[in-house]
């Protein structure tokens, strides 16, 4: 019988370093013992047959926007809509089906970090290419990830870097690169922003085809001075300087701490050393093995996508096979979180922001819709409080929630709706 702190730690590992257990998985992990279970969750598999079984969407270069209010424009907009919807369901399916969801979870983290929105990019192809890049480096080397991202077509378009010339540079990418992606606010000056903006000039983005081109005539090759360095830098050279800064060694671990452990408690000072080589995998392992994983109080609210995917996994639902995928996508939109559509370059909010009466309402209707289409056979075998907690990977239910279960009797569908809307499930203790 695993003790309560083991259950707490395993619940956190399962929901934060994955998207929650599939039916039976939590009990199996408990049986393995916490040390083996921890190692299993924090080790990315060489390949994941279930995730790879999801067919990637066929995305094509749709070309420029046609003249408005023509038949060509209508066809074009329909094609755009079909492509982005295919992209939404492809990623949601991967998250929901992955046998070992660490890689998808980390890709999700990085999507919120290098937050780029389809709302402005307007083509699915560059969003998919960025997603592939984030997955490729999700658990590898931050030097390489940052180098790839400073020439990512979607990111460059999103931050206006594709219209950046030496005559009068655009500062958008320069600022966010330091503030949000590598160093954190307060670790650079306004002069650094203006200097780096000059160094980042010269890129042109062909948006629909997701390609970039460097135009040396538009690039400012005169020396720039930033963060104590002077010289002639291109985008990758700038990226290398930023990633090498001490502030980066603090900032990335702090962002990960914020998203995986706590938005209120401060990051322990020993965490950044795990990122000394800018090795993301080492940092993730250090975080997942940290003693803070067993400290009561490091609660985190599941964001709408995290909640939806965890429910799909528990109910063996493949998002693209829902009776009405559009309803799922519009509900996620109403709840304030649709993948590929962060509200701004800072990514989505956290914790309290998801706990409004409005989210409670959408969650409740969504829960009923999903339970009707889900597989409840595993839950039906054991509808005790403990059985429900093990099915969903929850450390323990409160007296309040147990009383609600008692009133619902043995009906698995009613128990399932209550359990996935319970405060203990919405918030990962």
């Amino acid at each position: 019988m695993a003790d309560l702190l083991d259950r707490l730690e395993l619940s956190r590992l399962s929901h934060r370093f994955g998207f929650g257990p599939k039916p039976g998985e939590f009990a199996q992990l408990l049986n393995l013992g916490i040390d083996t279970a921890r190692k299993k969750i924090l080790t990315a598999p060489i390949s994941d047959a279930a995730a790879e079984s999801v067919t990637p969407p066929v995305l094509t270069d749709l070309g420029f926007f046609p003249t408005q209010k023509t038949q060509a424009a209508a066809d074009f907009n329909l094609a755009r809509q079909l492509q982005i919807n295919a992209l939404y369901t492809w990623w949601l399916d991967r998250m929901a089906l992955a046998d070992q969801a660490l890689i998808e979870r980390m890709t999700w983290f990085w999507h919120g970090h290098w937050a780029t929105s389809y709302d402005k990019v307007q083509y699915a192809l560059p969003m998919k290419i960025q997603n592939d890049t984030l997955r490729q480096y999700a658990l590898s080397d931050f030097w390489q990830m940052s180098r790839a991202m400073v020439q990512d077509p979607a990111l460059l378009y999103w931050l206006d870097a594709g219209q950046n010339s030496k005559k009068s540079p655009n500062e958008n990418l320069a600022r966010e690169l330091m503030e949000l992606f590598t160093l954190g606010v307060g670790n650079y000056t306004e002069t650094d922003v203006r200097e780096i903006a000059r160094g980042l000039t010269g890129w042109q983005v062909y948006r629909s085809g997701a390609t970039t081109q460097f135009n040396s005539l538009a690039h400012d090759s005169t020396p720039i001075t930033f963060l104590g360095h002077t010289g002639s830098y291109d985008a990758q050279g700038i990226s290398d300087v930023l990633v090498g800064e001490d502030a980066c060694e603090q900032f990335i671990p702090a962002r990960m701490w914020f998203r995986f452990l706590s938005t209120t408690n401060p990051m322990p000072s020993d965490l950044p050393t795990a990122f000394a080589n800018r090795d993301i995998n080492a940092l993730v392992k250090a975080l997942g093995r940290h003693g803070q994983m067993r400290v009561v109080g490091n609660s985190q609210v599941k964001s709408p996508v995290e909640w939806f995917i965890a429910v799909c996994r528990a109910l063996s639902i493949t998002p693209s096979k829902l009776q009405n995928v559009g309803y799922a996508i519009s509900t996620l939109t109403n709840m304030g979180q649709l993948p590929f559509n962060p509200p701004n370059v800072g990514g989505w909010p956290a914790d309290e922001a998801w706990l409004s009466a409005s989210s409670a309402q959408f969650r409740l209707s969504f829960a009923q819709y999903l339970v009707k289409q889900g597989d409840l056979s595993y839950l039906a075998k054991d509808t005790t409080d403990q059985g429900i907690a093990n099915w969903l990977g929850i450390s323990e239910f409160s007296f309040r929630t147990k009383s609600a279960f008692a009133a619902a009797g043995n009906d698995p569908a009613r128990l399932a709706v209550l359990a996935i809307c319970s405060p203990e499930y919405v918030v990962n203790a």
């Binding site: 209508a74 329909l78 809509q81 919807n85 931050l159 206006d160 219209q163 010339s165 540079p169 655009n170 500062e171 600022r175 503030e179 949000l180 606010v185 306004e190 922003v193 009561v296 609660s299 985190q300 609210v301 009405n324 559009g326 309803y327 996508i329 519009s330 709840m335 304030g336 509200p343 701004n344 800072g346 909010p349 914790d351 309290e352 998801w354 706990l355 409004s356 009466a357 409005s358 989210s359 409670a360 309402q361 959408f362 409740l364 209707s365 819709y369 409160s398 309040r400 929630t401 009383s403 609600a404 009133a407 619902a408 009613r414 209550l418 809307c421 203990e424 919405v426 918030v427 203790a429």
Partner: protein, 411 residues
């Protein structure tokens, strides 16, 4: 488009799906609860309009006769033909005809050069400063949230429109509510009873778990009170504001939000502060068309909203505050846009507002590293709202702050 793809399109986009789901929950079953606690007439109501992205103040309240302005912004400066002159060489963006009519009625205050010491050029830091009203120290509670902390708990007291709580409504003990545009629907029958059980507090709850339970409780209270009201149509103003500035689409998200606010004010909802917002002001590229459209939306929807308030007898009660996290750089960039700047104008409109200019117009000659100097501290604006409208000691909500703008008439 062939029928197969059209059907697939409708499935994927969810058109036609929502009604089916809502019907299964039956809004008819929601109790037709009358509001038990109507707001007495004469009680001030504040509507905070946040413009996300950093609105370019110089193309909003335009120093169109200033040669430095014209020279700094080739291609994106506005000349006399594209603005609505006010006075002192300043003019409104040509799309803001509604605001011009409020100005003429002396119901619009324009506070110039608003900001805070040592301006921050980050959207997030600067918006956090505006919403927390704390430029020096980083604090996570919002200025309206701290006002809520001083009041008895009532989920109706401060409401944001949308699905995510704006930081200004988060206090350290209480938070405001959010209301989605479509209103709230609660389950009926046994599920409702079981869910209300889930909303009860439990001794072992961590703060976040307790908040999750509270959000469910608020859903029951809000939907009981608000649901029936949202089914009514919005109040129709006697005189519709003119659309002479062009048709900017009455269908924008801001006007929808304000319509919901208008409906709830019309039935005397006990809400003192409403928070609505409009995004898209981060005009690093191709600024002219985008910003003009957005400002037209702001001006038209607020003017229309104030006409609605007149119709329901709340014109003297309601005050609208419009702000953004910063203004933009004086010089244009290479993309026909402007980069992040500092000071910008704040608008205050409504029956208690003493119209006119407040604060000095920042000089275009004396810049700080290419940016406008701040002439008015934003806490003076909040100070007036807290003290003159919310009847609260400003120094308690904004750490020790003592001054305020004389923008409101004595009650």
């Amino acid at each position: 488009m062939d029928t197969v793809t059209r059907r697939k399109f409708l499935q994927l986009t969810g058109a036609g799906a929502i009604a089916g789901i809502a019907a299964s929950l039956s809004i008819e079953e929601i109790a037709q609860a009358a509001l038990s606690n109507p707001l007495p007439f004469g009680t001030p109501i504040v509507v905070v309009v946040t413009l996300y992205g950093g609105n370019d103040g110089l193309n909003t309240v335009v120093p169109y006769q200033d040669s430095i302005y014209q020279a700094s912004r080739p291609g994106i400066s506005l000349d006399a033909s594209k603005v609505i002159p006010l006075q002192d060489g300043l003019a409104l963006n040509g799309s803001m005809t509604g605001f011009k009519s409020l100005w003429d009625q002396k119901k619009l205050a324009i506070v110039r050069g608003v900001g805070y010491p040592q301006p921050d050029h980050s959207h997030f830091s600067s918006m956090a400063i505006w919403q927390s009203a704390s430029p020096q120290e980083h604090i996570s509670s919002g200025w309206i949230g701290r006002w809520l902390d001083s009041q008895p708990h009532d989920p109706m007291r401060a409401i944001g429109l949308g699905s995510v709580l704006p930081p200004l409504l988060a206090g350290s003990k209480q938070v405001g509510s959010v209301l989605p545009l479509g209103g709230l629907v609660i389950p009926s029958g046994t599920l409702a009873q079981e869910c209300s059980q889930l909303s009860k507090p439990s001794g072992a709850d961590t703060p976040l778990v307790a908040l999750a339970a509270q959000s469910m409780a608020d859903l029951f209270k809000l939907s009981g009170d608000v649901g029936p009201v949202l089914k009514k149509s919005a109040p129709v103003p006697d005189v519709l504001p003119t659309q002479a500035g062009g048709n900017f689409g009455g269908d924008s998200s801001l006007s929808q939000q304000l319509d919901v606010v208008a409906k709830l004010i019309a039935v005397n909802a006990p809400t003192r502060v409403w928070a609505v917002s409009l995004g898209g002001f981060d005009t690093h590229a191709d600024e002219i068309q985008g910003q003009t459209t957005l400002l037209g939306t702001v001006s038209n929807s607020i003017t229309r909203f104030l006409s609605q308030m007149e119709k329901v007898g709340r014109s003297r009660d309601v005050t609208v505050l419009v702000y953004s996290e910063f203004g933009r750089r004086v010089k244009a960039n290479a993309s026909m846009g402007t980069d992040h700047g500092t000071a910008g104008p704040v608008f205050i409109a409504g029956g208690r507002t003493q119209g006119g200019f407040y604060g000095d117009q920042p000089s275009l000659k004396t810049l700080n590293n290419g940016d406008l100097m701040v002439t008015t501290d934003f806490r003076d604006v909040y100070g007036a709202i807290l003290e003159d409208l919310l009847n609260t000691d400003k120094s308690r909500v904004i750490d020790g702050w003592k001054s305020k703008l004389p923008v409101f008439a004595k009650a």
